[in-house]
């Protein structure tokens, strides 16, 4: 451990001692349960440690609550994805229902796909889903959305480029 690392750890440690109490309460208020709040509090400080920016923080409260808020939204995204996933499953005939193990794997895969799609505009995303997941041809998509073939093509290229860059970014993270 270098001297730099040592002072960074001390800084995070001080932050933790001073701020984890209110942060935990803040998260608990928003989540309504202690387990998730404890998890997210922990995750918040892990983020701070990874970002290696603890030494430069001037205003810890807004800084920490901004990170925690991001994590809160991630958690909610995951929950709401899980919910729409379960609804989609429930709509399938029983014979085609995957086993609980397969379901867990699929949900994780969906979470990752959803992450690729993050940040796409609604129209672009709609086109991507219709093409890649519903398997529609461009003329069908154009007819359904009332847009030109050219736009479908453009939206698709944009969506694929975005997803590819997201995938690369995630592999690097």
């Amino acid at each position: 451990m270098s001297a730099n690392d040592a002072s960074l750890h001390t800084a995070v440690n001080d932050l933790y001692c001073e701020h984890h109490g209110w942060l935990n309460r803040w998260l608990r208020q928003r989540l309504g349960n202690a387990f998730d709040a404890a998890d997210l509090t922990q995750d918040t400080f892990v983020r701070v440690l990874k970002a290696r920016s603890a030494l430069e923080i001037r205003e810890p409260r807004p800084y920490l609550s901004r990170i925690a808020n991001g994590l809160l939204i991630d958690l909610f995204r995951r929950r709401s994805l899980e919910q729409s996933y379960l609804q989609a499953l429930a709509a399938m005939p029983e014979a085609l229902q995957p086993s609980p193990e397969e379901q867990a794997i699929m949900l994780q895969a969906l979470v990752e796909i959803d992450r690729l799609l993050q940040g796409l505009g609604p129209k672009v995303k709609q086109v991507l889903i219709l093409s890649q997941f519903d398997g529609l041809s461009y003329p069908q998509i154009a007819a359904q959305l009332g847009i030109s073939l050219r736009s479908v093509n453009k939206h698709m290229a944009k969506a694929m480029e975005h997803c590819c860059l997201m995938q690369i970014q995630m592999q690097l993270a």
């Binding site: 909610f76 069908q140 590819c164």
Partner: protein, 319 residues
């Protein structure tokens, strides 16, 4: 690490090629041109491999599941989390609900408390789901299978009966006769409603008018004396059985009123935002989470005076 300019450009080009070839109407000339581009530079090939890796990842979940899941999420997120909202000037919609805890029927055969949902198997093999705060008496005899819905909401999935006894739900507003089916009945102070998921039912109001037939995908409101018109029901019917409320462009006040059925205490909506339109899937088993989603997504302020006293208002605008 970051991408070089050449790599970045190759990814753009690969995405355009991918889009062109996916159209379902790509020509041979286009395919030949793509092939020429592909072999012209190793960077192109690498970019194309990246593109196919993305396509593979997307194909890892069957489209039939992924499409509705991602789309459902899109809807709820766009409106719930990205705070797209429509504010319509207020109408007076003050106290949404006042739940005094005076259970009507403490001694019913089957009952659920606020926030509870349960499934029961009946003697003939029929299934009975009770939604939150509901009570049912079961009266089976030699000539009929009768459920008395005292309070709340139930979902029935009937089983065929060896003795061919009719299956009926009795409410104080009228009676519902099942015709081999799956359906929902809910009773209120002033009226009752039925929504059919499979097959059909027949409704007879308490004052014994003519029977009204309600088919799958339809719903009907009725009271003692009369019934409304048979209407199309939407996809959100019965979502509670899977633990959620599905809202599509619903006024916020209505959604909160629905959520408040699953929690004790007062959930008050500021009249200023009562008509704000909201879409999304909201968990009924964790209404606090649902409120959190509304809060962060719609820039609402949820003030918790106590666990049992919650006020929802517009967030203060900061300048």
């Amino acid at each position: 690490m970051s991408l070089t300019l050449a790599e970045r450009q190759a990814i753009s080009a690969a995405a355009r090629w991918y889009a062109a070839l996916q159209s379902g109407v790509a020509t041979d000339a286009e395919r030949a041109a793509w092939n020429a581009w592909l072999v012209a530079d190793p960077v192109h090939l690498q970019a194309w491999q990246r593109m196919t890796a993305v396509a593979e990842q997307m194909a890892s979940v069957p489209g039939a599941v992924a499409a509705p899941a991602l789309r459902g999420l899109e809807r709820s997120r766009r409106q719930v989390l990205r705070s797209v909202m429509i504010l319509v000037p207020a109408a007076s919609l003050g106290w949404l609900s006042w739940r005094s805890d005076t259970p009507q029927q403490l001694f019913a055969d089957f009952r659920t408390t606020v926030g509870e949902r349960r499934q029961f198997q009946l003697a003939d093999g029929s299934s009975l789901w009770l939604n939150t705060d509901s009570a049912v008496n079961v009266r089976y005899d030699g000539s009929q299978r009768l459920l008395d819905l005292l309070q709340g909401e139930i979902l029935i999935s009937t089983a065929p009966d060896a003795a061919q006894r009719p299956f009926k739900i009795h409410t104080r507003h009228g009676e519902v006769l099942a015709l081999g089916t799956r359906f929902i009945v809910r009773t209120h102070e002033q009226n009752a409603e039925v929504a059919v998921i499979e097959k059909a039912v027949e409704v007879r109001t308490a004052s014994a008018g003519a029977a009204i037939r309600v088919e799958a995908g339809q719903r009907l409101d009725f009271n003692k004396r009369s019934s409304g018109a048979v209407q199309r029901s939407d996809a959100s019917v019965g979502a509670w059985q899977q633990g959620s409320i599905i809202a599509v462009e619903r006024p916020l006040a209505e959604l909160l009123a629905d959520l408040s059925r699953y929690r004790r205490g007062v959930l008050r909506c500021d009249p200023q935002i009562a008509r704000m339109k909201v879409s999304g899937a909201f968990p009924v088993d964790d209404t606090d989470l649902a409120l959190t989603a509304l809060e962060s997504g719609l820039s609402l302020r949820v003030t918790r005076f106590s666990r049992y006293w919650v006020h929802v208002s517009a967030a203060a605008v900061s300048h």
